[in-house]
Amino acid sequence: MSVYLLIILVGLPLIGFLFARRRAAVMLGSGAALHSLPDFHGAYVAAWTGIPSIILVLLWVALQGPLLDQAIFASLPDEFRAAVENRSLVLAEIHSVADGRLFGQPAPEVQAAAARLQAWRSIADWSMVAVAAAAALAGLVVTRSRLAPAFRARHRVEDVLSALMVVCSIIAVLTTLGILLSLVFESIRFFAKVPWYEFLFGLNWEPQIAIRSDQVAGLGSFGAVPVFLGTLVIAVIAMLVATPIGLLSAIYLTEYASPRFRAVAKPSLEVLAGIPTVVYGFFAVLTVSPALRVAGAWVGIDMAPNSALAAGAVMGLMIIPFISSLSDDALAAVPQALRDGSAALGATKSETITKVLLPAALPGIMGGMLLAISRAIGETMIVVMAAGLIAKMTLNPLDSVTTVTVQIVTLLIGDTEFDSPKTLAAFGLGLVLFVITLGLNVLALRIVQKYRERYD
């Protein structure tokens, strides 16, 4: 079937292009004054033949799944349907059987539905081919009739190009919308099962609940405050590590370093930003955690193997370039005239830095720090590998805590059926995460913009 589709979606436009171009060339050859080059005539026909049918096919493919699922579920016998506890589980089973993967003995209703699904799928697929062909041919015929010497083919083609560009630009907006909608949608379903005030203010996070009715039920509470607290603790530790190193590095690089040193050192610090976070996570588990435990034992302190300190320290390492790079930019943007003025009064370099430059660059530095905090809060792999899974209400960095991102991942790895509060809780956490990081980023941008106005 895909071969047919290929012929329709690629072959027909190609034929249209060649044909129209030929036609235009013939008109040109017989002396008519063409507005546009033959290539444009060809492109015009090809565009209107191919693009509508491609869009149709994409839409069809996207919507065929959900629509068929709806229909198949509705086609199940009434009593069976009423007895179903978990719609998506049944649908998954029907899909598996239809694909030829049998586990155990599925119910006869399921098998019948699977057979129906296969048949319907086949019909739907061929219908799609037919519709695509019809659209392409229609486009071909309509555009062909437009061909004439005075036809402004180039303008039409450029209009199509512009429209395509606008669509591509809108994809960014669509993505943001998609994120918002999917998070909000699933969160609403979550808050239907777990009240929002319990989620935001509850102190007990134990999301392990029974999935099937025959499992021993854990109680399942979804008070996320310990998770938020854990995120905060690790983010604070990370900032405590990254801020001194990042800020002092930026000061040295802008004010004390020779150009050659700066040319080597600045990219070296940027390397920290390029290392994948899963590598940092493994580093934390392989080296940092054991080293900290040994150090702790030496001093007589007992540390958990996945302490917040280990995860936070490695995360701090990762966000150093955020702080150093943005502080560097902020310091470099302070006009040389201020440095000269301070030096001419007899200030040492460190006095100029601490009393004139840092206050002047403060908004930019603050913006950088906010962005770093936002990054630390949203970071996943380091904490998944190095931090804990159990939510604990503690401020002690030597304890093991869990974060929002860890919980999102652990709730979703493995079984995913979309109705249990367990998986929906992940979306609730995701919504909170999205809103907070967005807020921090907007705040950071606003502060940095305000600062840019001061030196016009």
Partner: protein
């Protein structure tokens, strides 16, 4: 006229008093201290990078070689039917041949611990050889196969020999047999091809990255195919065609915000929309690539806009002057000149996408598959998610392999970044 005499304090200030001199000295040492702190901060950061790389290399270098054992296997025709070689009892074939090297080991329990030396997959290795060439039935053939993980660690010196027997995975008798094989020259430690050409396995000695590398490749391919044209088209529109106004502001703000959204949220998006709503198959490079493309889009758009901005207006004006339409100016003149910058940005975006783990985990690209995926619609794993999976495995051999896998990933990243830098240096124009 104003009184321009100085204030008495300032006028009587003795610049040479010992107190003043002390103050000057203190101020200068504060200056030196700040300088030292700054330099130490940079050196500390660099040192930590070195420790990171160093610990990975120290842990992982051994995985680039793998201990093998070579011995003669008699393909007993009584156990393997020439008509249906695949169904032969290769377990017995292998065990008999292995036991033949140690005729004095007769106790069944001892024999079982002797067979531990071979990899658990030994029967399948021999089976594949015989199925490929059934003429081997009835012959004695030399077979080289990996040893099991415990003995690989022993050979590499990771398992200490001098601790009491109960604290090791291998007992004294096994060590004796292994050493006997070594003295007979049957133990070799060649380069670990399997790391690159074999797919994942439950057994560390057989586990490789082939599946992950192919999976990542497919995902990046999908990512590139989607984000490259869409990103460039969007950037061209924003930079060259869109009128400055509310709409373009909204677009810009959106793109900048997307660049800062945590990666795990993109995973949630992929899960809810691509898998949940559109019903696309889980764990496939198609969905992985789609999610990655949404994350790479802002990077490509921003890089493309910068490259377009760098092309001087005089080029555009010259093209307009000979009668080109706006589209033609951009497509024929500006875009080719901006291409090196665009490509550099794209390569960097791809490198970032290669290292992304969280979103791929959420959409399920951490499947345990034993052969590389054949296409973008098959279940797959990716390099970073493979690293994550291996990092969780308790066997000693996986720790080293995880580090090796990380080194492979970093190797890819270094190559990609180098290509980007070289591209930028070679084709960068100074206007």
């Amino acid at each position: 006229m104003t009184d321009t005499s100085p204030h008495i304090a300032a006028a009587t200030f003795d610049w040479n008093a010992p107190e003043t001199r002390r103050r000057f000295a203190a101020r200068h040492s504060a200056d030196r201290r700040l300088q030292i702190y700054g330099l130490s901060a940079i050196l500390l950061a660099v040192l930590l990078i070195a420790v990171l790389i160093g610990s990975l290399v120290a842990s992982g270098y051994q995985s680039f070689v793998q201990t093998h054992v070579t011995f003669e296997v008699y393909v007993d025709p009584a156990k393997v039917d020439a008509g249906d070689p695949a169904k032969g009892n290769f377990r017995l074939v292998v065990r008999e041949s292995f036991a033949a090297m140690f005729p004095d080991v007769t106790n069944p329990r001892d024999q079982r611990s002797l067979f531990d030396i071979m990899t658990a997959d030994a029967p399948y290795i021999v089976r594949d050889l015989v199925v490929a060439d059934p003429s081997l039935i009835g012959r004695r053939i030399p077979v080289t196969m990996p040893v099991s993980d415990a003995f690989d660690q022993l050979q590499k010196g990771v398992t200490p020999r001098d601790v009491p027997e109960t604290q090791r995975k291998v007992n004294d008798k096994q060590i004796a047999w292994f050493d006997a094989l070594a003295t007979r020259g049957q133990i070799t430690v060649p380069f670990n091809d399997e790391l690159f050409f074999a797919a994942d396995s439950r057994f560390p000695e057989l586990a490789g990255l082939a599946g992950a590398i192919v999976g990542s490749f497919y995902a990046l391919l999908v990512c590139f195919v989607i984000s490259f044209p869409v990103g460039i088209a969007a950037a061209i529109y924003l930079e060259e065609f869109a009128r400055k106004g509310r709409w373009s502001d909204i677009l810009e703000v959106n793109i900048n915000n997307l660049a800062a959204v945590p990666s795990v949220v993109f995973g949630l998006l992929g899960l809810a929309v691509f898998i949940g709503f559109f019903g696309l198959p889980r764990s496939t490079p198609l969905v992985g690539g789609m999610v990655l493309s949404l994350m790479t889009l802002p990077t490509i758009i921003i890089a493309t806009r910068a490259a377009l901005k760098a092309v001087p207006p005089s080029i555009r004006e010259a093209a307009l002057g000979v009668g080109a339409s706006k589209h033609q100016v951009v497509l024929h003149h500006v875009l080719p000149l901006a291409m090196p910058g665009i490509l550099t940005g794209t390569i960097i975006g791809m490198a970032q996408a290669l290292g992304e783990t969280a979103p791929l985990l959420l959409i399920g690209m951490n499947a345990f598959i034993t052969s590389p995926p054949g296409g973008i619609l098959e279940s797959a794993t990716a390099l970073p998610t493979q690293i994550f999976i291996w990092a969780d495995s308790p066997e000693r051999g996986f720790v080293s392999r995880t580090s090796a896998a990380i080194l492979v990933l970093i190797g890819f990243l270094i190559v990609m970044n180098l290509v980007a830098v070289v591209l930028r240096k070679r084709f960068e124009r100074r206007w």
